[in-house]
């Protein structure tokens, strides 16, 4: 079946004089535009946008959508991204006019229902974290990191301490050092040891009175819970430094252990991962942060406060770092997270984690041997296999495996991350997949590594396109259509 409408660009199907949306006529007396706006500010012709009719527009985007893999159409074991099912009820509820049409600056008294949900969400996220105060403001995980590091900087400034360094394990996500740089810190890499967890000797060597924060992802990006965590947080605290938890991997520990209980002073959530905000082909996310009470005065404003049975936005926070974005936060994603948590309840949240970890371990057990898994025979919610041996022996790379999986209707795992594993293949199945799906996927993975290398180098074979020339894309960038 051929769907031409999707291979042409909007601009190529544009036809002068066509249009989709029409507006009603003005119901007020109309004045001459020239009488209302100075001539030098006006552009006589509107921007040269494409002109398309409604059915063309719909066919275009619907056909285009078919050229995507998505959770609703394919198993999507993308490591570090927690691609779990996005419940349909969330979409219906978030679209209720009483939620979707609330203006961010309307008076508190006129949005008590919204404030109540957000207030509850603050306390729920505090409880899950084992920490005291929560800001729902950050728009995504990376912005949560930045916010928390700015909070840390303000805290040390308030104490009159000069701390300039943020320590980050080499297995960390790229946003950690990038956020630390914007927050004005120097970043120092901490090595991982042969077990894939923090190298304590290296940490000890680099930790000093200049250290402000140690950013740890636990379980880390290898899917390993750092068994030394209590020792690590103690070391940091003895030096007066703070421990930050990158909460991207919360799906592995919700209800089983709490960051506050293992010594973290601050953390971010990725609500779009752990609590299933749809990823929208890149976003939106939501990255609330939770902190200990001594850091709470520095949180961005506003927070939701409760007086009696009334809710209000509390802007009166003199030590606050300010704001990291306009308005309250990515409320649409927070709402979906709230719906999810309310659907699961305490037992459901724990079961979520247990089954996420069970599914990952099962998949690991199924493919171990066929693939090298450098760091142990067990994992938390995800694990990292390596195509190092395959590459050496058969010239099959992690990229080849990823591309070949697409032919079988599977989205590829995350590849080449974390950087500490060569030819990394990072697999996170999540709890919402069945044993049958995992078995079929494992069978496919095992079958692929026995395939002819040449076939893999050319993969995918069954999709519309194969192996785009990325070097050309970067060398001669074409970033927009031109007539």
């Amino acid at each position: 079946m051929q769907a031409n409408q999707s291979t042409e660009l909007l601009f190529e199907i544009s036809h002068a004089g066509r249009r989709c949306h029409r507006l009603s006529a003005a119901d007020v007396p109309v004045k001459n535009v020239a009488a209302l706006l100075p001539k030098e500010q006006i552009k006589d012709t509107p921007p040269p946008l494409p002109e398309v009719g409604e059915i063309d527009l719909i066919r275009h985007f619907v056909n285009l959508s078919k050229r995507n893999m998505s959770i609703d159409t394919n198993f999507y074991p993308l490591g570090s991204c927690t691609m779990k099912y996005n419940p349909k009820r969330h979409e219906r509820l978030a679209a209720l006019p009483g939620l979707a049409n609330v203006h961010p600056l309307q008076l508190d008294a006129s949005c008590q229902g919204m404030l109540r949900i957000l207030w509850e969400m603050q306390s729920i996220l505090g409880e899950i974290a084992g920490l005291d105060a929560v800001s729902l403001q950050p728009a995504a995980g990376a912005q949560g990191e930045l916010t928390a590091l700015l909070v840390a900087a303000a805290y040390f400034r308030d104490k009159g301490e000069q701390r300039t360094k943020v320590l980050i394990p080499d297995s960390a996500h790229g946003t950690n050092p990038a956020s630390a740089a914007i927050a004005g810190f120097d970043t120092v890499d901490i090595k991982s040891n042969d077990k894939g967890i923090v190298d304590l000797a290296d940490l000890n060597a680099k930790l000093d009175e200049r250290t402000a924060v140690f950013m740890i992802t636990n379980p880390n990006t290898l899917g390993l819970f750092d068994t030394q965590i209590a020792q690590i947080t103690k070391l940091l605290h003895e030096k007066g430094a703070l421990v930050y938890l990158d909460g991207a991997n919360m799906n592995a520990i919700v209800g089983v252990t709490r960051p506050g209980d293992f010594g973290a002073d601050m953390m971010h959530y990725n609500v779009h991962k752990t609590f299933t905000g749809p990823h929208g082909a890149g976003g939106p996310g939501s990255g609330p942060i939770a902190v200990r009470s001594f850091l709470a005065p520095f949180l961005p404003a506003p927070l939701v406060a409760k007086d009696g049975d009334q809710f209000r936005l509390d802007y009166d926070r003199p030590k606050s770092i300010g704001r990291v974005r306009s308005f309250f936060g990515n409320v649409g994603i927070l709402l979906r997270g709230y719906f999810y948590i309310r659907t699961l309840g305490p037992d459901g949240l724990r079961a979520m984690t247990q089954n996420a970890v069970l599914n990952a371990n099962y998949l690991l057990a199924r493919i171990n041997g066929g693939y090298e898994v450098p760091h142990g025979h067990r994992c938390m919610h995800e694990f990292v296999a390596s195509a190092r041996a395959l590459k050496r022996e058969k010239r099959i790379s992690a990229m080849d495996i990823a591309k070949r999986l697409l032919d079988f209707g599977y989205h590829a795992p995350t590849v080449y991350f974390p950087l500490v594993v060569p030819e990394a293949i990072m697999i996170e199945p999540t709890e919402t997949e069945s044993k049958e799906t995992l078995d079929a996927f494992a069978d496919t993975l095992l079958r692929i590594c026995d395939e002819d290398a040449e076939c893999l180098h050319q993969a995918p074979h069954a999709l519309d396109i194969s192996r785009p020339d990325e070097i050309k894309a970067a060398k001669e960038p074409i970033l927009r259509w031109k007539p």
């Binding site: 291979t7 660009l9 249009r19 949306h21 003005a26 535009v33 209302l36 100075p38 509107p46 921007p47 619907v62 285009l64 959508s65 078919k66 050229r67 995507n68 998505s70 691609m83 996005n86 509820l93 939620l99 049409n101 609330v102 006129s110 949005c111 229902g113 409880e127 995504a140 995980g141 790229g174 990038a178 630390a180 914007i182 810190f185 209590a230 209800g255 252990t257 990823h279 929208g280 082909a281 890149g282 976003g283 939106p284 770092i321 306009s326 990515n330 659907t343 305490p346 724990r350 979520m352 089954n355 599914n359 199924r366 919402t432 044993k435 050319q458 995918p460 396109i465 785009p468 990325e470």
Partner: protein, 447 residues
């Protein structure tokens, strides 16, 4: 449990394959003393029907739509959203996909983002646009980080006080620990006076930031500000309102180097402040300093045209501490919505939307000015928002008008101490004459 498929039998078989006895055994490497020994204190589970009842009850308590007519703006607007936008964005192939890292499995989103980038270029008259930032405020902050990586030895940032107060706050927060001095230029007459700007420009000026139309609704002297900024060698950053470009000159035409915007108005619901859409466009020469993802055109191994994420060496996953920004997850779904919206309106639709806003806003301004004691605060041209001065405290009047069923505007005293009697109102194409007449008569009574 709601979304878990493993039955007790499945679990047993799987545990066996793993070599563990119980689910708890899977967590063997979490030291016993660190484990949570009690259930989380979160409310008990709800069935779908119960959840729906609960949420509907909460939603009911929010005054929206006909319970309170919206004249609020300040970056978030009650514009009409054509059904095609929701129809496309609710395709799960888009909204349940992740970032298009695997190009072959993501051509749909990649092409849509390429189209979005093109539409933003057409809208702004600039050369390149990225595939989205978080929202309008952090987009301003990102533009300054970007400017700083273009001119590393300049450190002074000049921003007009007429820029959205929350955007300015975001900029201050982002810049707090960086070698930048953010200086706010007063705008007592409702706009940045180019003569004032001149006094502050020097060879250390990194960039000048204005918003157009600004937070008060007034148009800025964008051309004159642009010329002055250029002549000092600083970069010109403009925060614009996308809808206004149906009528107004485009940032690229009056010399903007970087243009940013809040894209909520392009087909996105208000939903109490987010998720929205951070728009950023710039001149070609700065593209390698841009934050965020970029989609580029290329060919596949058979020579077929296709799309990929490109120039990724700017980004955090490759450049880490030296990246142009820390952004990873962006606002993809809202970029898609904006693309559908812009294509649905087309040039004529955008023009008509802007004109309807213009006409209606002026109608309301005329009505309000006939009320004794009410006057336009600034004598500046405006498009869809304007600021009036009331005889007394604006915040008090607002509460009264809310009881009458109107979100009557933003009380400026919240952000500007000297403007405690001022109210900024926004009028979109959705507002009717009846609603505006109703507001005018309610205000007349309230005063």
């Amino acid at each position: 449990m709601s979304y878990i498929l493993n039955t007790a039998d499945d679990q047993k078989a799987m545990l066996e394959a793993v070599g563990a006895r119980t689910l708890d055994d899977l967590f063997y490497n979490i030291p016993e003393e660190l484990r949570l020994k009690r259930p989380l204190k979160v409310p008990e589970a709800l069935a779908e029907m119960e959840l729906q009842q609960l949420v509907a009850e909460h939603a009911q308590k929010n005054q929206v739509d006909d319970k309170a007519v919206c004249f609020l703006g300040g970056g978030s607007y009650d514009h009409f959203i054509p059904a095609v936008v929701d129809a496309v964005a609710s395709r799960s192939e888009y909204y349940t996909a992740y970032t298009p890292y695997q190009a072959e499995a993501s051509q749909g989103s990649l092409q849509a983002f390429f189209e979005y980038q093109t539409l933003i270029c057409q809208l702004t008259g600039l050369d390149v646009a990225n595939a989205s930032l978080y929202e309008g405020g952090s987009a301003v902050a990102e533009s300054v980080l970007m400017a700083h990586s273009i001119h590393q030895n300049r450190t002074k940032v000049l921003i007009a006080e007429s820029v959205h107060p929350e955007y300015r706050q975001v900029l201050q927060t982002y810049a707090a620990n960086l070698p930048l001095q953010v200086q706010t230029l007063p705008t007592p007459d409702g706009f940045l006076d180019p003569d004032d700007l001149k006094k502050h420009l020097d060879e250390n000026t990194l960039c000048v930031i204005v918003q157009h139309p600004n937070f008060f609704g007034c148009l800025e002297e964008v051309e004159a500000v642009g010329k002055l900024t250029k002549s000092s060698g600083a970069l010109y950053v403009v925060s614009f309102d996308p809808i206004s470009l149906g009528l107004l000159k485009r940032p690229g035409q009056y010399g903007a180097d970087i243009a940013v915007a809040e894209g909520q108005c392009l087909g996105n619901p208000m939903v109490y402040g987010g998720p929205y859409l951070g728009i950023m466009a710039c001149r070609e020469e700065y593209v390698r300093k841009m934050p965020g993802r970029l989609v580029g055109q290329t060919v596949d191994r058979n020579g077929k045209r296709c799309w990929v994420l490109t120039l990724q060496t700017r980004e955090q996953h490759i450049r880490r501490a030296k990246a142009t920004s820390n952004i990873c997850t962006n606002q993809g779904l809202f970029a898609l919505r904006a693309a559908v919206y812009l294509a649905a309106l087309g040039p004529q639709g955008l023009r008509e939307t802007a004109e309807l806003c213009l006409q209606k806003a002026h109608y309301l301004a005329d009505q309000l000015q006939q009320i004794p004691g009410v006057a336009l605060k600034f004598h500046r041209p405006f498009l869809k928002e304007f600021t009036v001065q009331l005889p007394g405290n604006a915040a008090k009047t607002l509460e009264r008008l809310l009881r009458d069923g109107y979100h009557a505007g933003l009380p400026l005293g919240r952000w500007y101490k000297s403007l405690g009697t001022c109210l900024t109102l926004a009028v979109t194409e959705k507002r009717t004459k009846k609603e505006m007449d109703g507001l005018a008569s309610a205000l007349r009574k309230a005063l």
